[in-house]
Every structure is written in structure tokens, then in C-alpha cells.
């Protein structure tokens, strides 16, 4: 009886809480810890502009949103969506929430704010589904960056490889010096390396072809990708301590010279600048991943407007802030990412370090392609099942088997065109 009473009481209180929400805005994200201050800066801006609104900052920790996405699902399915939630722009949003009809079209906001000119067309194309645009990108990260330690590279007498063949050629030299040529970490960082290798081997058009159906995932091109990937992994620490390393620890190895190169997204620059206190270009060097010069493989954190939220007007104001010059320049220098707007860095160049300036220049000029591992190019089902493809390849070393498995998950997930 007591339990029942308690339950009824909790329910009544919960209902009351929902009712009283009119002057609130709940922001759901996985930006805690290092990334917290960047979000706080945005919230401060929002509060200054909308003093009457109480902002609820709901964060669920866990890198790349691994835990937040699960919590979000229970809330969306339970009919209590947060007013706005963080999601990787692209298929992670479209393939899960937009196709399910749970997001509102934001084209009106894009028109009102003039964002069609502010964001690159390639980006807007990837945000568009069935004629509608469903999220506002706050920041851009680049996936295909190779990091190294310039002093060590000079000491070993090697050139920074521009192609994977160059890399494979210098691999024995680096190994002879007792250094790991390429460092990888836990499972997802191996997938992360894979997307850069695949982009290098297939080129931008070929990479996009996987997702449009123009490239056969079981065909000779994909087999070649896996074969090259196998050769590259043979120059890595995958058979040694890889699985125990976080991406930060992998970067540490590059910084302290026990490994030569690492392919990681450019949040690594934020880590090296902020946490390790290094200067871009001196303490660490960067280059596009081999064979991917001129191509920018991007991923983006974005926010959308779920249907049926409690505080729609507050949310629209929030989204407008996210896409504004002011909002993007408040957030990105702290997050260590570049603004999605092409005009933002020029408006306030002092806020950005050398790495971010070079990335912003590439963002404005390069061919843009979406990342697989970080939710831009493929839906969640494909991303999950891709772990099995990778495991098949890592366990058997069989490029044909991996490519075949990839074609199977392509069909099952519906991620590859059609």
C-alpha cells in the first residue's frame, strides 16, 4: 500500500513538473568534463538574451555520446523528448530520428537566419532529408588528420608521408628505430583509421559512392581497401597494446616519441593544446591523412527540434543562437573545433589557434565527405554492425570476407544507397 501511495505521489509530482515547464529549456548533450565550458558559454549567451528562461543542462557523460544516445532513446520512446538534444549531424540523426518522423523541419529557420549562405553547400546537402533540413550544426571536426611530433620526425630522418605507399616505405625504417610507426587504440580508433584509409584508397568520389550505391561494397575496390588497411595495420601496435589505449593515450605515445604517427580526429589538437600545453606546429605537427589531401572528412555536433517538445519557442531561439556568428565563435574556441559557418573564423581570427585556422581554411575550400565512425555517412545500425566487419577482418585477415560481410550489413541496414 505504501509503495502504491509512493508511486502515485511520484507520478503526481512528475506530472506537476511537466506542467510547470513553460519557462524552461532543457538541453540534452554529452558535453561534460573538458567540453563542459564550451556548452556553458553558449548557455550564458542564451540566458543573456532570454533572461526569463530557466535552462536545464542535462548531460549524460560518455565519449561520442555512447551512453547519451541510449538514454535519449528511452526518453524519445517514452514520449518525453528533451527540448533540444545533441546529435551527430548526418545519418545518426536522419537514419534514426528523422525517418521516424520525430523531428521538425528547420528549413524555416535556415531561411529566416540566412544560413543557406553561411554553411557550405556540401554540408547542407548532408543535413537534408527528403527536402527538409533537420538540425543546426554547431561545430565541425575533421576526421582525416595525421598527427606527429616534428622534432622526433626530424630526429628519425623521415618525411611525413603524403601517401600510404610512402608510409609503408618508411615503416621498416621507423620500426628499426624501435618506434611504432602508427599507433592505434581501442576498437573505435581502429575503425577511425579505417575510414581515413578507405578515403585515401577510394578517393572522395569513391567514398561517397559507398553511401549512394555507386561502389559495390563487396567489389574489387573495397577488397583493395581492406588489403591496404591490413598492410597498414601490420605497421601498427594492433597486435600489442592497442586495445588498452584510449585515444588520448595513443596521442601521448606520439607526443613522447614512442610512436611516429596517429590518425585521429582534430579533437586531438584540442587535447594537445589545452591539456598538454603544446603549440600547434611546434609541439605537434599535423597533415591530412595520407592520400586524402584536399578532402575534408567531417563530422559535426548539431542540435535539432524534436516534435512535441514542451517549450518550442525557447528551443527555436536556442537553435537560432547555435547557428549565429556569435554563438559559433563563443563555442568553438573553447571546444577546440571550427565553426560550421564559413565566415566565422574571419570574423574573429584571434580566437583560433594556427591549427584551427588551417582547418577552417580547408573546410572552406576542400571537398567535403562525411565520416562513417562518427555518424555522418552511415546510420546507427551500420555503425554498430561495422564492428563485426572489422572483427572479421582483424581475426581472419581475409579482405574478401570482410568486404562480403560489409555488403551484407549494407543491405541489412539500408545504409548504402537505394
Amino acid at each position: 500500500m505504501k509503495k502504491l501511495l509512493a508511486l502515485v505521489l511520484v507520478l503526481v509530482m512528475a506530472l506537476g513538473a511537466v506542467r510547470a515547464q513553460s519557462g524552461q529549456l532543457e538541453i540534452f548533450s554529452w558535453w561534460a568534463g573538458d567540453e563542459g565550458p564550451a556548452l556553458e558559454a553558449l548557455i550564458a549567451l542564451y540566458k543573456a538574451a532570454n533572461p526569463g528562461v530557466e535552462v536545464i543542462n542535462a548531460t549524460v557523460t560518455g565519449g561520442s555520446g555512447v551512453n547519451a544516445r541510449a538514454v535519449l532513446k528511452t526518453r524519445m520512446l517514452g514520449g518525453t523528448p528533451p527540448d533540444s538534444f545533441q546529435v551527430h549531424a548526418g545519418e545518426e540523426l536522419t537514419g534514426t530520428w528523422v525517418v521516424a518522423g520525430r523531428m521538425e523541419d528547420l528549413t524555416f529557420l535556415y531561411e529566416r537566419e540566412g544560413w543557406f549562405d553561411a554553411f557550405p553547400k556540401d554540408l547542407i546537402d548532408l543535413l537534408t532529408y527528403d527536402g527538409g533540413i533537420y538540425s543546426v550544426p554547431v561545430n565541425i571536426h575533421r576526421s582525416n588528420v595525421m598527427w606527429y611530433n616534428p622534432a622526433k620526425v626530424a630526429e628519425w630522418g623521415i618525411e611525413v608521408p603524403a601517401t600510404w605507399d610512402d608510409f609503408l616505405a618508411i615503416c621498416p625504417t621507423i620500426q628499426a628505430a624501435g618506434v611504432t610507426p602508427l599507433v592505434v587504440g581501442e576498437a573505435w580508433t581502429v575503425n577511425h583509421l579505417f575510414e581515413s584509409v578507405a578515403l585515401g584508397v577510394l578517393g572522395a568520389e569513391g567514398w561517397n559512392g559507398i553511401w549512394t550505391g555507386a561502389v559495390d561494397p563487396a567489389g574489387a575496390e573495397m577488397v583493395a581497401v581492406f588489403e591496404k588497411f591490413g598492410e597498414i595495420l601490420a605497421c601498427s601496435n594492433i597486435k600489442e597494446d592497442a586495445a588498452g589505449l584510449s585515444w588520448q593515450q595513443a596521442i601521448d605515445k606520439v607526443v613522447n616519441g614512442t610512436a611516429a604517427f596517429n590518425i585521429m580526429g582534430d579533437w586531438a589538437a584540442g587535447y594537445m593544446v589545452t591539456t598538454l600545453g603544446l603549440t600547434p606546429g611546434e609541439g605537434f605537427g599535423y597533415a591530412p591523412a595520407p592520400d586524402t589531401s584536399g578532402v575534408f572528412m567531417w563530422l559535426s555536433d548539431s542540435f535539432g527540434l524534436p516534435t512535441g517538445v514542451a517549450n518550442r519557442d525557447n528551443t527555436v531561439a536556442w537553435l537560432a543562437l547555435l547557428g549565429s556568428l556569435e554563438g559559433q565563435n563563443a563555442f568553438n574556441p573553447l571546444k577546440g573545433s571550427i565553426p560550421a559557418r564559413v565566415d566565422a573564423v574571419d570574423a574573429a581570427p584571434d580566437l583560433y589557434n594556427d591549427y584551427l585556422k588551417s582547418a577552417a581554411a580547408d573546410w572552406a575550400s576542400n571537398t567535403l565527405v562525411g565520416s562513417l565512425v562518427h555518424g555522418t555517412a552511415a546510420n546507427e545500425r551500420f555503425m554498430g554492425d561495422f564492428n563485426q566487419v572489422m572483427e572479421i577482418f582483424l581475426a581472419s585477415g581475409n579482405a574478401n570476407a570482410a568486404a562480403t560481410a560489409m555488403s551484407v550489413i549494407c543491405v541489412q541496414s539500408g545504409a548504402c544507397g537505394g
Binding site: E186, D241, G244, D385, Q388, E391, N398, A401, Q412
Partner: protein
């Protein structure tokens, strides 16, 4: 005789729990089974998270895929891992728990202190344990460099969390035969025991059951029931079945955490044995070792069984320890609990996730139900 008033009171007192258990346990079990028989999330179309999504009934398709589909090899590895994890975790806890309990039984000084120290790990959550042991078992640090730090010897290079070395290999197709043989061994052992004790009637049933099991294995009837793999040639090369050495670290951590608890159970059992029994044995000229062998250990049998059940259901459902130690994406240490989470909440394959959950429920049931049944029967008698 209870008065009607008492009965009414009892009814109303029990009602809320009964109602809630009915809804939150049994109704949801029913829903999980129901969901597992649909195609919810099996393909991208219709989108699995659409409001009022249509869930088509497809019967045992999800189960069949789990047991045969090449791409579902993680499930089969997860079941294999669970088996070995359970065997070594339960065995390890019983061994160390008993050892510690027997040592503490020697009237050592500061017994209370030791008891507390041994029990401490249990007060931690599996997540804390997992994180600590994850650090200690880093391939390039912790235990691996211990010999170097202590004696300047070569550091170990064992890959605790992601070793691909598999010992005790077996073929997936032979699994039901092995399981039947294990069942045969257990039943035969009990039957022999009953026979020795002269309980002929019960022994006859046991022998009959054992003979049936042996006949099942010898006749090869399983190969008509057990679904064959879609790609039996490929499976061993991508996902060999056997005891994966990457589990060793997790087993160590789990045993470290739970053997103190097992010790406490055994201690309680030992303390419950009246001193008169020991004294009588001594008077009859029994040695100290003999006392343990013939007096103490046989008395601990029910405790041992209870401990096995408690530990067994923990290990079958293990999630947090593996999640904290190896992460959800580490193929070598995958367990069914983690698969439910990733399949359901990451990949939106809700039907398949439910199917795995139902299979987990059945495996736990296989252990718990006979135990509860025998317990209820004993209390009735």
C-alpha cells in the same frame, strides 16, 4: 486458524507487491518474449523508432539468426564466454572462499580484521572493481611490468583484455553434445551417490535419466535439432570457439570481488556446525584433517550449493564488470548482457536484443528453477 480480518489484512498488504511484480517483472518478461518473436528493427524499413511502429510476427527468426547467421558470431562467442566465465568464476570463488574460511577457522589472531579485509572487495561495485583492474591489467603497465619493477626482469607481454589466444577449442556444432555429456556426468554422479546411500528408488530415476542422455549423444540426434551454421567453414577463422584467454583478467577481477562473500557464507556454515560433532570425532581418534574431510565439508554441501546458485546467476547476467573493464566493443570479451545493450540501444535492433535477453533468462532459469524447486520441496517436508 487465522481470522478473516487477518486474511483481509494480509491480502491488502501483499497486494501492492504482487501487483507490481506482476506488471514490472512478469508482464515485461512477456513483452520481451513477444518482441523477440517480431521483426522490430531487423531492417531499416520501416524505421524502427517510428511512432506506433508495426512489428511483424516472424516466429523464431531472430533466434535462428543468432544461432546460425555468420554476422551474429558475437552472440555465439558471448555464450561461449559466459560458459567459461561461469565455470572459472564460480569455481574460483568456491575454492578461494573455502580456503579463506578454513584458514580463518584456525582461531587466528585478529580474525575479525581479516574477515573484514576479505569482505571489503564485495562492498565495491563491479564498476569500481572493473576500473581498478583495467588499470592494473594494462598491457604496457600494472601487472605486466611488475616483474620488471620488482626484480628487473623482462616485463610480461600478455594482452589481458584482447588476447586472441583460444584454449580448449571446440566446434559450435558439438555444443549440444558436450552440454548433454556434462548433464550426464552430473546426473550419473548423483545417481551413484544415491545408490551408495541405498536410496534405490531415486537412484533408479537418476540412472534412467543418465542412460537417456547418453543415448541422445550416441545416437547423434542433436545434429537434426541443432541448427547448422550458415558458414561453418568461415566461422572458426573469424570467431574460434573456446576459452578465450582475454577472459582471464575479468575472471581474476570477479573472483577477487566475490570470494570474500563466498568466504562469509562458508564461515557461517562452519560456525553452524556444533562443536560436539568435532569433539566426538576427536574422541573417536579422528585426525584434524579427517575432521574437515568427513565432518565439516559434508555439512557445507548445502552452503556450497547456495553459493553456486548466487554466483552462477551473477556470472550469467554479468554486464557492468565487463563494460567497465573491456568496454562494450571488445570482441574478445563479449557477453550476452552487453549485446542486449548494444543491439537494442545502439543499433535499434530491438527484436534481436529481446531474443538475446530471453535466452539469458532461460539460461538463468535452468540454474535457478531446479534449485528453487528442490528448496521448496525440502521446506515442505
Amino acid at each position: 486458524m487465522r481470522s478473516p480480518r487477518d486474511r483481509m489484512l494480509a491480502f491488502w498488504m501483499l497486494m501492492p507487491s504482487v501487483l507490481m511484480i506482476a506488471i514490472f517483472v512478469y508482464f515485461f518478461i512477456f513483452r520481451a518474449v513477444q518482441t523477440s518473436l517480431t521483426d522490430w528493427g531487423a531492417s531499416g524499413a520501416p524505421p524502427p523508432l517510428i511512432p506506433n511502429v508495426e512489428k511483424k510476427f516472424v516466429g523464431g527468426q531472430m533466434y535462428e539468426a543468432l544461432f546460425t547467421d555468420l554476422l551474429d558470431f558475437p552472440f555465439r562467442n558471448a555464450m561461449t564466454n559466459t560458459f567459461f566465465f561461469t565455470v572459472f568464476f564460480v569455481g574460483g570463488c568456491l575454492l578461494f572462499g573455502l580456503l579463506l574460511a578454513l584458514l580463518l577457522d584456525q582461531n587466528v589472531k585478529g580474525e575479525g580484521l581479516f574477515r573484514t579485509v576479505f569482505l571489503f572487495p564485495m562492498s565495491l561495485s563491479f564498476v569500481v572493481t572493473g576500473t581498478i583492474w583495467r588499470w592494473m591489467l594494462q598491457p604496457g603497465g600494472g601487472i605486466n611490468i611488475l616483474p620488471q619493477t620488482l626484480f628487473g626482469a623482462e616485463p610480461l607481454t600478455f594482452r589481458w583484455m584482447n588476447s586472441r589466444d583460444v584454449i580448449l577449442p571446440f566446434e559450435w556444432a558439438n555444443v549440444p553434445n558436450y552440454l548433454t555429456l556434462i548433464g550426464f556426468a552430473i546426473v550419473a554422479f548423483y545417481a551413484a551417490n544415491l545408490f551408495m546411500k541405498g536410496r534405490m528408488r531415486a537412484a533408479q530415476y537418476g540412472i534412467a535419466a543418465a542412460v537417456v542422455m547418453l543415448a541422445v549423444v550416441l545416437s547423434g540426434v542433436w545434429q537434426y535439432i541443432w541448427p547448422p551454421l550458415d558458414n561453418p567453414a568461415m566461422e572458426p577463422s573469424i570467431a574460434p570457439k573456446g576459452f578465450n584467454l582475454a577472459l582471464v583478467g575479468i575472471i581474476i577481477a570477479a573472483v577477487w570481488q566475490m570470494s570474500g562473500y563466498t568466504m562469509a557464507m562458508f564461515m557461517a556454515g562452519i560456525r553452524g556446525i556444533p562443536d560436539e560433532l568435532r569433539e566426538a570425532a576427536r574422541v573417536d581418534g579422528c585426525s584434524e584433517i579427517g575432521i574437515y574431510r568427513y565432518i565439516i565439508l559434508p555439512q557445507l554441501n548445502p552452503i556450497m550449493l547456495s553459493a553456486m546458485i548466487v554466483l552462477g546467476h551473477i556470472s550469467l547476467k554479468i554486464f557492468d564488470l565487463v563494460f567497465a573493464m573491456a568496454g562494450p566493443d571488445n570482441a574478445q570479451t563479449i557477453v550476452p548482457g552487453i549485446m542486449v545493450y548494444t543491439k537494442g540501444f545502439r543499433e535499434n535492433q530491438f527484436a534481436k536484443a529481446s531474443a538475446i535477453a530471453v535466452i539469458m533468462l532461460v539460461t538463468v532459469g535452468v540454474i535457478i528453477v531446479p534449485y528453487l524447486w528442490s528448496q521448496l520441496r525440502t521446506t515442505k517436508r
